[in-house]
């Protein structure tokens, strides 16, 4: 409930104004520590990252390396201990108040007393969208995630994967310029997962949204991203940022299921995998193995 409006917006704006016109997310020397009973936890240390407008960036790394924490800082759900963080050239708080991002959490986080349709409508309702417009938008979104016939069900009547799809639809409701997604496809079966991945790539390309996407799946990160950010734990650091050079994918709309079988895809999977394992390559012919076996979810 902290709706405090920051007083230093202008300073932040002038600063990033020089650095290039409004990157979606600009992070400089970001640290986050948590005080716990057993001492200080260094969740993030010295994070530098720029996500350009319209860019798709995946965060990948072992459990506990601070992926969710970084996402929460960008969303202004938590405050950094030190460092600079701007979203579209504003402070994170201002960007949140301006509703510049949509978010899907690691848990679906649906309101159990609202129907599926009412859950998707929640952000539209809170921001005063007229009910007719709301209804058509919700219908479109549910159509997209394939849950039209479940519109009037309550979340507890849905499987975990279906709930997650509702949460994804909800995060897209206001066509945000920035999408923050924390392992949104973790609970989905492989078929739905691939469909949702293809849909997400299309939506991001259509709306020109920047996406910060947390995942544990290397192929998923490779398929979706312009760049993959590899993180390491204790303290949470960025150990590598790997641009995806996929032949088939000059424009992101080119990414379809053929890409999943392209050789460049397997090469990128291997590269991310090696970065994740600290650069150590194990065994000959790693590419096909990587494609099948490294998906750690």
């Amino acid at each position: 409930m902290s709706d405090q409006i920051p007083t230093t917006t202008s300073a932040a704006e002038t600063m990033t104004g020089a650095a290039g016109a409004d990157a979606a997310v600009e992070v400089r020397g970001l640290n986050k520590q948590f005080q716990t009973a057993s001492g200080i936890v260094h969740a993030l240390e010295g994070i530098d990252l720029t996500v350009e407008a319209g860019e798709f960036v995946s965060l990948i790394g072992p459990s506990g390396c601070g992926k969710s924490t970084l996402m929460r800082l960008i969303a202004d759900l938590d405050v950094p201990t030190s460092g600079e963080l701007t979203v579209f050239g504003k402070t994170a708080t201002q960007a949140r108040l301006d509703q510049d991002y949509g978010i899907a959490f690691q848990q679906a986080g649906l309101l159990p007393w609202r129907t599926v349709a009412a859950n998707v409508a929640l952000p539209l309702e809170l921001h005063g969208v007229a009910s007719a417009a709301r209804r058509t938008r919700v219908a479109d979104l549910l159509e997209m995630v394939g849950l039209t016939e479940f519109a009037d069900r309550f979340p507890d009547q849905l499987s975990g994967g279906m709930q997650q799809r509702v949460a994804i639809a909800r995060s897209l409701a206001e066509q945000p310029r920035l999408l923050l997604m924390d392992e949104p496809f973790g609970a989905l079966d492989e078929m739905t997962r691939e469909k949702m991945q293809t849909d997400l790539v299309r939506i991001a390309a259509d709306t020109g949204a920047a996406v910060v996407f947390v995942t544990h799946s290397i192929p998923e990160a490779v398929f979706l991203s312009d760049r993959v950010v590899v993180m390491s734990p204790r303290p949470g650091r960025i150990s590598d940022i790997i641009p995806m050079r996929l032949d088939a994918a000059e424009g992101r709309e080119e990414r379809d299921d053929d890409l999943r079988e392209a050789s460049s895809f397997f090469e990128m999977v291997t590269e991310v995998r090696e970065a994740l394992h600290g650069g150590a390559s194990d065994g000959e012919n790693p590419a096909p193995r990587a494609a099948r076996g490294v998906d750690t979810r």
Binding site: M1, A75, I103, G109, P112, L122, L126, P155, Q163
Partner: protein, 281 residues
């Protein structure tokens, strides 16, 4: 505070009761009505038998038939007394519910309000509210119903406040994050998240309070004030040795208490059946 544990126990019994393996749900729901009614009839029959054949003095324990006869003979008085006491209880319950919910919202929002009110609530939960009846009766005059209504209100306020406050604290972090991410105002937060989360707790509080409201409104009548309610009629009938009539009024009191309880139980079931409260992630 025992109210809390009671609330929980009742929630548990209401929603999570495990079904016996042998009976179909339909048989079971029929049995749930038939069994207590049968037991009641058997008890009444033994009672009647003891009094008429067993030779228990009519003075000590009037027979069910004589109580029925009094009930019929004094029917208009019974009805008006029930309406009077029922009105006092209902007013008390409504005012107590409103106050309980509003003050719980204040206590949930501002920690300082919670800290200031905690000892008062603890005291109210421990002190039998009807003990205030003589004081309130003399404060508001001999011909006012206000003292009784106030007592019913205070008595029902306590469990509703405690349960509602607990309910307000059940919001989940992911839901609070969500509302914050949407930059929801505190009013929107209350309407869209806090109140719906607390709804089952509020309803349980109201159900517990409903019985308390009837009991305290009725017992308050024992301590003077205007005549005409069930409590004062039970007292005067017993004082003039009209025991069957006193029992007839007792019967009406039980019916009134049951009516309040069942009405609030039905409200709770109705709301919670239509609107799920949990199970999603």
């Amino acid at each position: 505070m025992t109210t809390n544990t009671t609330a929980n126990a009742i929630i548990g019994a209401g929603t999570g009761a495990t079904r016996s393996k042998d009976w179909s749900p339909r048989t079971e729901s029929i049995l749930r009505v038939v069994a207590p009614v049968t037991l009641g009839i058997i008890v009444l029959a033994i009672w009647q038998f003891l009094v008429t054949v067993g030779g228990v003095s009519d003075y000590l324990l009037p027979s069910p038939t004589s109580i029925m006869a009094e009930l019929v003979a004094y029917w208009p008085a019974v009805v008006s007394a029930t309406v009077l006491t029922g009105t006092n209880s209902l007013l008390g319950l409504l005012v107590g519910s409103l106050l309980g919910i509003i003050l719980a919202a204040v206590a949930a929002r501002w920690r300082i309000a919670d800290q200031m009110s905690a000892p008062i609530i603890a005291a109210l939960a421990v002190v039998p509210i009807v003990a205030l009846a003589p004081v309130l009766n003399s404060m508001f005059g001999a011909d006012s119903q206000f003292g009784r209504q106030a007592i019913a209100a205070i008595a029902s306020f306590v469990p509703i406040f405690i349960n509602t406050l607990r309910g307000f604290r059940q919001t989940r972090p992911v839901h609070r994050d969500l509302m914050k991410a949407y930059a929801a105002s505190s009013g929107q937060m209350l309407r869209s998240l806090t109140l719906p989360t607390a709804r089952p707790f509020i309803l349980t509080g109201i159900r517990i309070a409903s019985s308390l409201a009837v009991i305290s409104a009725l017992v308050a009548e024992y301590f003077g004030g205007p005549r005409g309610g069930l409590g004062s009629l039970i007292a005067t009938s017993a004082a003039s040795s009209a025991y069957s009539r006193a029992w007839a009024y007792v019967g009406a009191s039980i019916a009134l208490g049951l009516l309040f309880y069942l009405a609030t139980l039905a409200l709770e079931r109705l709301v919670l059946r239509r609107v799920p409260t949990g199970g999603s992630r």
